[in-house]
């Protein structure tokens, strides 16, 4: 205690004592054993993977049978452990090779120059899934930074996709105008949907969480209604399925349709959104007003920022981006929408909330979070195909990761981390306040 001249002012006495006992670990370890956002996320991911492994173990019949057998025949415990390890390892290996790259295929392609399409398919799928997630999560993140909880990103994405589909399938124009108009229609659809909670909050004080949450379900019903209306329904169909997009209004695959790689020009839209968000939050005056309002609403009001205008513009921006995510999703993958579009487990709205949290509301962090979640989703599919373990395991891991990331104090306690000035806690916002 005596030879430690206050290493850092944020250190609590307990931490100082621990540092003294292990002076050799100062340096990189001290930095990474504190509650920096990256440490927390990595630890949460590790916990999620461990819990996923545990779930595989206790629900896989061969493993349980083997354990039962070795309970009576202690000699076979080695083979049981091996089976357990192999099953879990196979699942996670399939998840990684199915979402990033398969080394065997990669070396085959390197050495022969053949089969690049197959080799690159996993990473292309991950990028395809990540594209709308990035856009929607940035929309949610901007709202969060203003202190506004937009739980309705899913509904806004669906309404954006409806508006975009109407533009893409019912009007025929050359691509140079048709595609931008389709995307703009998506933005407008989402913005209109976002204005409902925005206007209600600004003028009646209705709490945006309740309104956006409820409005998601209203939009689900609107989707079914619109898809069975004569205007948008695929002619000759009685199911809830829309007309196909004109080929002039789709986000085409980067490497042409023949390659089979689905990654599309949508990633440029996502990149543009990321750049816009960085500029908007860091450089624009409206973004400054947003951040001031989020940091301290009273100070914002005192400095002449009109809270009503802020609420309305936040929902305009956030809803517009969510709507863009919806139309990008439809225009880059299916080229139509049906009654299951973004419904239930296919929804991106709730995922966007969790990714925004994972990325600490910062655009770059959100990109990494989206890639992680998309990889988990795509990898889960590959895992189900390879090992038969249901892809819902990926969703379970995602949920566990977010539960831990949302409660950083918990991780700090589990791993006995030192708290640092960087640590991140989302502002709590109840219905009552």
């Amino acid at each position: 205690m005596t030879n430690e001249p206050a290493a850092s002012p944020t250190d609590t006495p307990v931490d100082v004592a621990r540092d003294v006992s292990t002076p050799a670990t100062r340096g990189w370890w001290a930095r990474y054993s504190s509650t920096s956002p990256i440490t927390l996320t990595v630890l949460a991911l590790i916990l999620g993977v461990v819990i996923g492994a545990f779930i595989i173990m206790v629900t896989s019949a061969p493993i349980l049978d083997s354990w039962r057998y070795s309970f009576h025949h202690l000699g076979s415990i080695g083979s049981t452990l091996k089976l357990t390890f192999d099953t879990v390892a196979a699942a996670y290996r399939a998840m990684v090779t199915g979402s990033i790259i398969d080394p065997t295929l990669f070396f085959h392609s390197i050495s022969t120059g053949q089969g690049w399409d197959q080799t690159l398919t996993p990473i292309s799928e991950t990028l395809t899934y990540a594209t709308p997630l990035v856009i929607a999560s940035i929309g949610v993140g901007i709202a969060f930074q203003t202190g506004i909880f937009n739980i309705g990103a899913n509904g806004q994405a669906i309404l954006g996709a409806i508006a975009g589909t109407a533009m893409a399938s019912m009007i025929h124009l050359p691509m140079i105008v048709h595609l931008p108009l389709t995307l703009i229609a998506g933005i407008l659809g989402g913005a209109v949907c976002g204005m409902v909670p925005g206007v209600l909050k600004a003028y009646t004080g209705a709490h945006e969480v309740i309104v956006t949450l409820m409005f998601n379900y209203v939009v689900n019903a609107i989707l079914i209604y619109v898809l069975t209306s004569t205007a948008l329904q695929l002619p000759g169909q009685s199911n809830d399925i829309s007309r196909n997009f004109d080929s002039t209004a789709t986000l085409n695959p980067l490497f042409g349709t023949k390659s089979g790689l689905r990654v599309s020009y949508g990633i440029f839209v996502a990149a543009a959104v990321v750049i816009f968000a960085i500029w908007f939050l860091k450089r624009s005056s409206l973004g400054f007003d947003f951040r001031i309002t989020g940091a301290n609403p009273n100070a914002a009001r005192a400095s002449g920022i009109n809270p009503k205008t802020i609420v309305l513009t936040v929902f305009l921006v956030s809803g517009g981006l969510s709507g863009l995510a919806g139309i990008v999703q439809a225009a880059s993958t299916t080229h139509y929408i049906d009654g299951g579009f973004l419904i239930g487990s296919a929804g991106i709205g709730f995922t966007a909330i969790t990714i925004a949290l994972l990325g600490r509301l910062q655009p770059i962090g959100i990109v990494w979070g989206s890639l992680l979640f998309a990889a988990l989703g795509v990898g889960g599919r590959a895992m189900q195909a390879a090992t038969g373990i249901p892809l819902d395991l990926a969703t379970i891991i995602q949920s566990v990761v977010v539960l831990f990331v949302a409660s950083p104090v918990l991780i700090t306690e589990i791993f006995r981390l030192r708290s640092s000035a960087e640590s991140f806690q989302l502002a709590n916002k109840g219905w009552g306040s």
Partner: protein, 434 residues
């Protein structure tokens, strides 16, 4: 009502709307509703069409000794009369702006449902061939309303203590999954109910742990818990329930007829020949209503939800009260999940199809009160049942709009367009001791 208003008076904010204007809006809405009944269901139906209601329950195993003759009505004229009554009620509300404006709107809503039923079962000729079993409609609606009551009671408990419970849907899923498995193995819904309560309480504990101890954001935690339970149930369905179908046989709970009063026409089979889960729901409503507003425990729970600092200063442990109440709320919702599976039979992923969120809406619409939650659950239960029942009928109002009904009404109430609600002051705000 009176208990809540005393608390409202203290903290009411000046930006709330004037009640008089609100009542006028309710009146206008009621008139519009009446016009819709008059035009769409009344004038919109063919001149000679008939509607027939029957009242004998389909399942007469309880031995109903009575038989009511089917009721045959002229569709057009009955609906015109119903529409006119609704318009009159609306005009009266519009002009006189009485205190019971919302009740009158509710009367209009009930008449709307009856007109919709009349319309949906109409037959063109003078001699009706098919008919609509009114008692079945009642039984079906009540079975959904029962689940909503459990969910909204859970919400009332948690939120009165200041913890937002969006995870009701997750607790439903957990309870339903556990209930289906335990009942299939033991063939006892008592044991299933017990385990369902435990599973619900466990999820409630997880919510309380993260929300109270680790001060995480309750809305995000709730949303994630629903996702987590949804994916766990879907995972277990493929990995466990599919290879072992004897874990999911899909029994229904047997009905327990209350002697004598179960023989009352219409009401008897619907209300007094139900599963034990239905009776348990009614008992729970009474218990929680009494407990929250008439006991010391209830006062503590409400004080922790309204002003935790004040509660702490008189020696109440905010964390302990919130923990116990949220776990209790989780247990109630878990029981609701078992009740749901006891009516529905087999478990499938996604079987609760958003009832948890309708229950949340019912709780808000019911002004965070058990009695209000029951009324809202009944209303939303009827509308949810009709969405299912009228799916294939060619109704003039698309069923999608009826799907929206609970959510739109709740949004309207939250926005103060009709009615006025106010959540507990510290709902969703974690309490950190200094």
């Amino acid at each position: 009502m009176t208990t809540l208003d005393t608390t409202t008076a203290i903290t009411s904010t000046p930006k709330l709307r004037e009640p008089v204007g609100r009542r006028r809006i309710i009146g206008i809405l009621t008139v519009i509703l009446g016009l819709f009944i008059l035009l769409a269901f009344g004038v919109g139906s063919a001149a000679g069409a008939h509607s027939q209601f029957t009242f004998t329950p389909v399942n007469t195993s309880s031995g109903a000794p009575w038989h009511l003759a089917p009721l045959t009505l002229l569709t057009r004229w009955s609906n015109i009369v119903l529409g006119l009554i609704t318009i009159l009620v609306g005009v009266e509300t519009w002009v006189r702006r009485p205190a019971g404006a919302l009740v009158r709107f509710g009367v209009g809503g009930v008449l709307f449902f009856i007109a919709l039923l009349l319309w949906s079962c109409r037959q063109p000729g003078p001699a009706p061939v098919s008919s609509l079993n009114f008692t079945s409609v009642l039984i079906g609606s009540l079975s959904i309303a029962m689940v909503l009551i459990y969910g909204s009671l859970s919400g009332v408990l948690c939120e009165r203590a200041g913890v937002v419970n969006i995870a009701i849907e997750g607790q439903f899923i957990g309870g339903a999954l556990a209930g289906a498995m335990i009942d299939s193995v033991t063939n006892s819904f008592w044991l299933a109910a017990l385990v369902g309560i435990l599973v619900g309480a466990l999820i409630g504990w997880l919510l309380a742990l993260l929300a109270v101890r680790y001060v995480a954001d309750q809305i995000i935690i709730g949303v994630v818990i629903v996702t987590l339970m949804g994916s766990i149930s879907s995972y277990l369905n493929i990995q466990v329930l599919a290879p072992y179908p004897n874990l999911n046989v899909g029994n229904n709970a047997s009905n327990v007829a209350i002697p004598l009063i179960s023989k009352i026409p219409i009401v008897g089979p619907a209300l007094f020949n139900e599963t034990m889960f239905f009776y348990a729901a009614i008992v729970l409503v009474a218990l929680i209503s009494f407990g929250l507003f008439r006991t010391r425990w209830g006062l503590r729970v409400r004080s922790v939800g309204e002003h935790p600092k004040a509660a702490e200063s008189v020696g109440i442990s905010v964390a302990r009260v919130r923990y116990s109440t949220v776990i209790l709320g989780g247990a109630v919702a878990g029981l609701g999940g078992v009740a749901f599976i006891a009516v529905q039979g087999q478990f499938q992923p996604g079987i609760t199809s958003g009832y948890g969120y309708i229950a949340l809406a019912a709780m808000i619409f019911g002004k965070w009160k058990p009695s209000g939650a029951v009324v809202a659950s009944l209303l939303f239960g009827v509308s949810a049942y009709l969405v299912d029942a009228l799916q294939n009928e060619n109704v003039p109002i698309p069923t999608e709009f009826m799907t929206m009904f609970p959510y739109l009404v709740t949004i309207a109430v939250v926005a103060g367009l009709i009615g006025r609600v106010r959540p507990p002051a510290s709902d969703g705000v974690p309490y950190k001791r200094d």
